[in-house]
Symmetry: C2
Subunit: 155 residues, 2 copies
């Protein structure tokens, strides 16, 4: 199995696994959950950024990196249910329709993000501030890669 | 140091650690971040519930439990900044003013929740569905304990 295919399956596995539950999920709930996940990651990315640019606290960085990794590993692909290319959660979704059609491209950015988030958690646990700073840059690139391709400008 | 005091300090440690950053945080952002954290936990608690009541998928439960634990360990106490007893994030906050004054009580429910969330992640990693079901019940009780004391009915 090709790597891109494997990742795509991993990312979207929940839609199969929890089929019944997800069939019952409303579009607005799916959008609300995914917006919540991204927003909570943003808070934690902000904490890592503040630490690498200022006073470094190992425990805070490790905790924040664990949040980002856990959310990355949570199978958010399952929240991109049919019909959720448009709609309102906390606010109107910013997703581009391409996310629902460009499966190979989505698999690629999703894999890059997951790998970088897990590596971030691993590095953060060591407390090596320089390594964290470097990995934070790489992780941010993977966020941006997805945003550039699949997210509209914020409303 | 008494246990309640220790937990309180742990839960609210970020407000000291990241003082500068947090001083710059707007009330509406703090409320938005915490509402996002709780909402994303709710999605993951829902997945665990669906698994213990239906077809059990070890990996999905472990991933969901890791999210709940990581968010529990993220230091959300830092998001209860002065002035955020009222205000609007994604929606008007449901927090009761008592959360800002009853430090001992808050420390107690926070410690119980953190302990239960970490135990949930530990049990979920074993794949023991019966143990997960039991621990899920205990974890839910700790959510409810805080909601009962410190959260208004949903608007």
């Amino acid at each position: 199995m090709k790597k891109t295919t494997k990742t795509l399956l991993a990312g979207f596995a929940l839609s199969v696994v929890a089929g019944t539950t997800l069939a019952q999920m409303k579009v607005e709930d799916a959008i609300t959950f995914r917006q919540s996940g991204y927003k909570f990651m943003a808070w934690n990315m902000g904490k890592i950024k503040a630490n690498v640019e200022g006073q470094y606290n190992k425990d805070q960085v490790a905790a924040a990196a664990n949040v980002v990794a856990a959310i990355a590993n949570s199978g958010m692909g399952a929240l991109y249910i049919p019909g959720s290319d448009k709609g309102k959660g906390w606010h109107e979704t910013n997703v581009k329709p391409e996310l629902f059609t460009d499966k190979e491209g989505v698999g690629k950015v999703a894999r890059a993000f997951n790998d970088a988030a897990n590596e971030m958690a691993r590095v953060a646990a060591t407390g090596d501030a320089a390594a964290v700073k470097a990995q934070f840059g790489k992780l941010g690139e993977t966020c941006k890669a997805c945003h550039d391709k699949y997210r509209k400008e914020e409303h």
